[in-house]
């Protein structure tokens, strides 16, 4: 995490503002265990039916499961479907 990002994150916490809007921190939305939306993102790092690595800028999001599929991907958001078993965050 850069110094600027950290500052923005701390500011968002201080002023009770949404971190994703102010600091560009990724927002991960999981609907049941079949659909995951994430945005903003910085691209796919690794892809497979059981594991997908997504770059979120300051952190990497690991999606584990089975039959995972990247259904849609735009510069702002991506959508993964399949059976999601776990979501991990790595710095």
């Amino acid at each position: 995490m850069g110094e600027k990002d950290g500052l923005l994150l701390r500011a968002s916490r201080l002023f009770d503002l949404p971190a994703d809007a102010l600091a560009g921190t990724p927002r991960v939305e999981v609907i049941g265990d079949g659909e995951l939306r994430m945005g903003p993102h910085r691209g796919i790092l690794a892809y497979g039916p059981e594991e997908i690595h997504i770059s979120g800028g300051s952190l990497v999001v690991l999606v584990r499961g089975s039959g995972l599929e990247l259904r849609a991907m735009t510069p702002e958001e991506l959508l993964i479907t399949g059976t999601i078993k776990a979501v991990e965050f790595m710095r």
């Binding site: 691209g43 796919i44 690794a46 892809y47 259904r71 849609a72 991907m73 735009t74 510069p75 991506l78």
Partner: protein, 418 residues
């Protein structure tokens, strides 16, 4: 729904191979190239689908991400259309030609239908319309319907109304026939009523003028029956001459007449004897284009009958500007034959009766009695019809002078040469 849209838009299935193939996905996302059906094969390759329209841009992105692309196939409506255009240009040209024919050629007139005419022949109306520019092959939108209708109507005094409605290749011409103008009696012309045939007067009625005969009188053809000259009676013992009044004489003169009609036929006639030689030629006329394959052909050196039959093509109950003409040539020899006397006499009698009836119809008369006689002379058979009739024998003829009073002696009844 999305599947259907993708199918309509057309898509390409691609296999991507590279050291970091996920980079291509990221580039696609950044450049907003939509992809789907992503299927990871191993760490260095995957397959996915992309819209047909994005295919070229993908090549550029693949180069940037150091990936290799190989097409697995193209599917969808747009892909099929692309294939057809590439491989079956003849079919595409045909479709384009059909479209051209439907959109442009359908503006030319092919059929002109005339409705509403009873006594005026359709051919006469079509001929007049042709002069006004309404004919098969004319460009429909260029025809000024009202002006053309007015121009055609001016040349057809028998019509009171004419309208042209153009529906694509068909022009409907609606006409109304004009009522015949009644013949106006010109009372300003001095006339006499004279006898059209010899006869015995049964009834003479002078509407204007002076009856010169009485019922039961015998009159000869050409005699004045009702004179247009009236002698004005002076009072008794008057010395003044009131003169004569010249009028337009009118009236009916019903008389018994005897008419003699004759028909003749040679006793020997030349008859055709067909040799059995027959030939059929055909020609086609499309619009104004005449395709005559056998131009003026005949059976050489022989006499032949030529029968021409022209049929217009009718499709879906509508006539089309295509005519098929079939010409049949039948060779024959002429031979002398003696006629069947009885049959010939019957035919002549029938012809004579027909002639008599036509004459009676014209004069408003009736046939009272008929008598036929046959004779053979100079190699001919002659049938004579003697008919007793009742008819109006009065015929109005103009006389010299003017209507009005004149002075002088009363002229005696004249005999007019019939």
């Amino acid at each position: 729904m999305k599947k259907l849209i993708n199918l309509l838009r057309g898509y390409v299935e691609l296999a991507v191979t590279g050291a970091f193939p996920e980079r291509l996905l990221n580039l696609c996302a950044q450049n907003r190239l939509q992809f789907w059906k992503l299927c990871w094969i191993d760490e260095t390759s995957f397959t996915f689908r992309i819209a047909l329209k994005d295919r070229k841009r993908l090549d550029e992105l693949a180069q940037r991400s150091m990936c290799e692309l190989s097409e697995q196939g193209r599917r969808g409506a747009a892909a099929v259309a692309e294939r057809i255009i590439e491989r079956r240009w003849g079919f595409v040209a045909g479709v384009a030609l059909c479209f051209f024919a439907v959109s442009f050629l359908s503006r030319f007139l092919l059929v002109i239908e005339v409705t509403g005419n009873e006594t005026v022949p359709t051919a006469v109306i079509l001929s007049q319309l042709q002069r006004a520019g309404v004919k098969p092959g004319a460009y429909g939108p260029a025809i000024p319907e009202k002006e053309a209708a007015n121009a055609a109507l001016l040349g057809l005094p028998e019509l009171s109304y004419l309208a042209i409605n153009i529906y694509g290749t068909r022009a409907e011409v609606v006409v109304h026939e004009a009522e015949k103008k009644p013949e106006l009696l010109d009372a300003g012309i001095p006339t006499d009523v004279v006898a059209e045939a010899d006869g015995i007067i049964e009834d003479i009625q002078a509407d204007s003028g002076r009856a010169m005969f009485q019922d039961g009188d015998i009159v000869a053809k050409g005699e004045v029956l009702i004179s247009g000259e009236l002698d004005l009676k002076e009072p008794e013992y008057s010395t003044a001459d009131f003169g004569r009044l010249i009028v337009h004489a009118e009236g009916t003169v019903t008389a018994r007449t005897w008419r003699t009609l004759e028909e003749t036929i040679p006793l020997t006639v030349q008859a055709k004897e067909y040799t059995g030689e027959e030939r059929t030629d055909r020609s086609i006329k499309i619009l104004w284009l005449d395709l005559d394959f056998f131009q003026n052909s005949s059976i050489s050196g022989r006499r032949c009958d030529k029968m021409t039959k022209t049929e217009q093509l009718t499709l879906f109950g509508r006539p089309w500007p295509v005519w098929l003409t079939t010409t049949t040539l039948r060779g024959y020899e002429l031979t002398q034959h003696e006629i069947d006397r009885e049959g010939a006499a019957a035919q002549l009698e029938e012809a004579l009766l027909s002639r008599l009836n036509r004459q009676m119809e014209a004069n408003g008369g009736e046939v009272l009695r008929t008598d036929f006689s046959l004779r053979e002379e100079n190699g001919r058979l002659t049938v004579t019809l003697l008919a007793e009739c009742r008819e109006d024998i009065g015929r109005t003829v103009e006389r010299e002078g003017e209507v009005g009073r004149i002075y002088g002696d009363v002229a005696p009844p004249r005999r007019v040469a019939g």
